[in-house]
């Protein structure tokens, strides 16, 4: 069912000219949203977002956003503070559900499956769409337990040795194994900030997600730790789709293949990263990346 639906839709998207879709989308919304320029849609996407609006109470924080997330890509979200990057990111694994008074409308699909569907359980959804937060937030437990927690609650392992394998593999992927292998039983909160962030990444990838959402993962880190995490992102995108929010345009340029620019709740422009940074099509994007504001 799902796959059928997916092919039908992606087929339609693929055949229809981009402009047509865009105008259709715009006319459907009540609020006047700015049109997204560039190419927000891709072939065979991992996730699709259509007409996404987010309200905090009466206040609208995200305004009619349409975007696709491709497979095995790193997509960067940039924009001035308060423009709704985090809010949008949290829509993708329904973390906004946990916020009192936050309402999300629109259609978000993961591999063609409507994540807001009544039959969709958020628990496996969040296992498939993992998240790494701006501030490192390891559990106040041992390093091992931090990484092992996800596999345990999702029942991914049969016995202890399997669990140990997963933990080791995840820590290795997150580039923390060398530093942590001798202190697996020490509290994760005892690590340095950068190590903690990598621990959080290891924790997220331990349940083999399909998408990893990263909200400013390096904002609290020094350049060396940042470099390590960027390396890690580059490696991870072989297996996962990664959505990363960042305030550093250099970082966006270094790690991402595509970049999306948000402005006051609108998605202004999406495109190949080098194109956005060298040849922005929208005035606002240009203003932002040239440092005129934001």
């Amino acid at each position: 069912m799902e796959s059928l639906f997916q092919t039908a839709e992606s087929g339609a998207l693929a055949t229809a000219p981009k402009e047509e879709i865009l105008s259709e989308v715009t006319s459907n919304t009540l609020h006047k949203a700015r049109e997204t320029v560039g190419d927000p849609f891709v072939e065979n996407p991992r996730m699709t977002c259509r007409e996404v609006n987010v309200y905090y109470g009466e206040k609208k924080a995200i305004n009619n956003v349409n975007i696709d997330i491709a497979r095995n890509e790193v997509i960067a979200m940039i924009g001035p503070s308060g423009c709704g990057k985090s809010t949008f990111l949290r829509c993708l694994n329904r973390m906004n559900d946990t916020i009192e008074g936050c309402r999300v409308t629109g259609d978000i699909r993961l591999d063609g499956m409507d994540i807001h569907d009544k039959n969709v359980d958020v628990v496996p959804l969040r296992a498939r769409v993992g998240m790494v937060f701006q501030k490192p937030n390891p559990f106040p437990k041992s390093i091992f337990d931090n990484v092992a927690y996800g596999p345990k609650i999702h029942g991914l392992v049969q016995n202890k040795s399997e669990l140990e394998e997963i933990v080791e593999a995840s820590l290795k992927k997150a580039g923390l194994w060398e530093e942590a292998k001798d202190r697996l039983n020490q509290p994760g909160t005892g690590l340095s900030g950068g190590q903690q962030q990598r621990l959080c990444i290891a924790r997220a990838i331990a349940v083999s997600p399909e998408v990893i959402l990263m909200d400013e993962p390096c904002s609290a880190l020094d350049p060396i730790a940042t470099a390590k995490i960027e390396e890690l992102i580059a490696e991870l995108c072989e297996h996962y789709s990664i959505v990363i929010v960042t305030h550093s345009m250099q970082q966006a340029a270094r790690v991402s293949q595509r970049t999306a620019y948000f402005h006051l709740g609108d998605l202004i422009e999406v495109g190949k990263t080098d194109r956005i940074f060298t040849n922005p099509r929208h005035q606002l994007t240009e203003d932002y990346i040239t440092g005129r504001f934001g």
Binding site: N93, M95, T98, E100, V122, V123, P124, L125, R126, A127, G130, M131, V132, F133, K135, N137, P138, F139, P140, Y149, G150, I153, H154, P187, T189, C200, R203, A204, A206, V207
Partner: protein, 424 residues
């Protein structure tokens, strides 16, 4: 910037600086005075209690030679033998010169009426004693005890003493023969209440408090925590939960006697539970401590940082798993502290128990939840209201026991907090 010495901002700041330091110093002095005053009062309290109560931990005994006359033990039931007679006989043997009836009465008065119970137990344990003569230390009467502890002034005129001149002389004789001694008062720690101060003990009330608090703890801890978790983590935030919250906060401030009235109406009159039992007392104290526990638990749940919740939800923990695996362990020290403070309050409570008949004279040590029982603060109240002078030191001693329990509970609270506290 060029001439930092004449920077006008710094000048302005310097002018205010002195005033700021003065204000700080004033505040520090006020604070220190407050703490000092509080400590003084605390010390005064402890001093007055300890100084008037420490003597209760000793008791006076008199040694007598008892001949277990076989002629007295004709009945099958050994307890029916004339034990007071045996004691009187041995006292008379010690002071053969005492002959008149009233003098004999005065002489026998020196020995506690509880001495015969002591002999009953001796004979019950070892019937072979019958026919033998034994040297036995028995409790002295409370007035003798008071005299030896210096609470009765022997220089006063005879009419103003409860020990008359003759009795004084006999006691001096006994003391000369080393037949009076003061020992550690085990009775006080092993017996139930009694109307004879020298026989009265705190153990009955301690057991009553134990059973009562056991019920309170087993009910109020799980219920309180479940309620707090539900309200804090699961309940929708709407008018109803607001009303519930306001009500819980109000309940915490309701005078405790109201809970007693409620308990009387519900548990005794409606459910027909037995009066004066730890069961009913415990239920009432449960009602009383629940709001305290709920409020403390909610506060400690609130203090768990949201980042931990997000982390758990972010890797796909269900809400229940998030609460059980991450939030509860972090909130537990706070919850335990709240619970123990609530329990300590319940331990010291007597007003609500008045309504359900726990303010009662109970001699037998309660053996379970449905035996009539009283509790420590009630025992203190009852003793403080007793006419016998010797109960005054018992009252203070019981307060000391209660304080020790309170201190222990608070120490446990601190220990648990330290033990379970998770450092970040």
């Amino acid at each position: 910037m060029d001439q930092p010495a004449t920077n006008p901002t710094i000048d302005k700041m310097n002018r205010g600086l002195k005033r700021r330091y003065r204000a700080e110093r004033r505040f520090r002095i006020c604070g220190a005075t407050a703490v000092f005053t509080a400590l003084c009062f605390l010390f005064l309290l402890f001093f007055s209690i300890v100084s008037s109560g420490y003597k209760a931990f000793q008791k006076t005994s008199i040694q007598i030679n008892v001949f277990f006359d076989p002629a007295e033990f004709t009945n099958e039931n050994l307890a029916t033998a004339n034990f007071p007679g045996l004691i009187k006989a041995s006292m008379s043997a010690m002071f053969p010169e005492v002959t008149s009836r009233s003098d004999k009465k005065d002489l026998y008065y020196l020995i506690s009426p509880g001495a015969s119970f002591q002999l009953i137990n001796l004979v019950k344990d070892n019937p072979a004693l019958i026919g033998q003569t034994q040297q036995i230390w028995v409790s002295a009467n409370d007035d003798v005890d008071m005299l030896l502890k210096g609470n009765i002034d022997r220089t006063r005129p005879e009419s103003e003493r409860r020990i008359n001149d003759k009795q004084l002389a006999w006691l001096d004789t006994l003391a000369g023969e080393r037949k009076i001694k003061k020992t550690f008062n085990t009775t006080f720690f092993t017996r139930g209440d009694s109307r004879e101060p020298e026989l009265a003990g705190i153990w009955g009330a301690t057991c009553g408090s134990f059973y009562t608090l056991l019920i309170t703890l087993t009910l109020s801890f799980p219920i309180g925590i479940a309620a707090a978790v539900y309200l804090e983590e699961f309940a929708p935030k709407n008018r109803w939960t607001d009303i519930i919250e306001v009500n819980i906060n109000n309940l915490a401030a309701v005078p405790s006697i109201v809970y007693g009235l409620l308990g009387l109406a519900v548990f005794i009159n409606f459910f027909g539970m037995p009066r004066s039992t730890p069961l009913v007392g415990g239920l009432i104290l449960t009602l009383m401590t629940l709001p305290v526990i709920i409020i403390a638990s909610r506060a400690s749940l609130k203090s768990v940082p949201p980042s931990i919740r997000e982390a758990a939800l972010g890797i796909g923990a269900s809400k229940m798993q998030m609460v059980a695996h991450h939030v509860l362990p972090l909130a537990l020290p706070g919850m335990l502290t709240g619970t123990i403070i609530g329990m300590a309050r319940a331990l010291g409570e007597s007003a609500p128990l008045l309504m359900v008949g726990m303010v009662a004279f109970i001699v037998d040590i309660p053996q379970g939840f449905t035996d009539p029982a009283t509790v420590l603060p009630v025992q203190i109240y009852l003793w403080s209201d007793s006419p016998e002078r010797a109960f005054m030191e018992k009252t203070s001693a019981a307060i000391m026991v209660l304080l020790v329990f309170l201190l222990l509970m608070n120490a446990v609270a601190i220990f648990l907090r330290k033990r379970f506290e998770i450092k970040w």
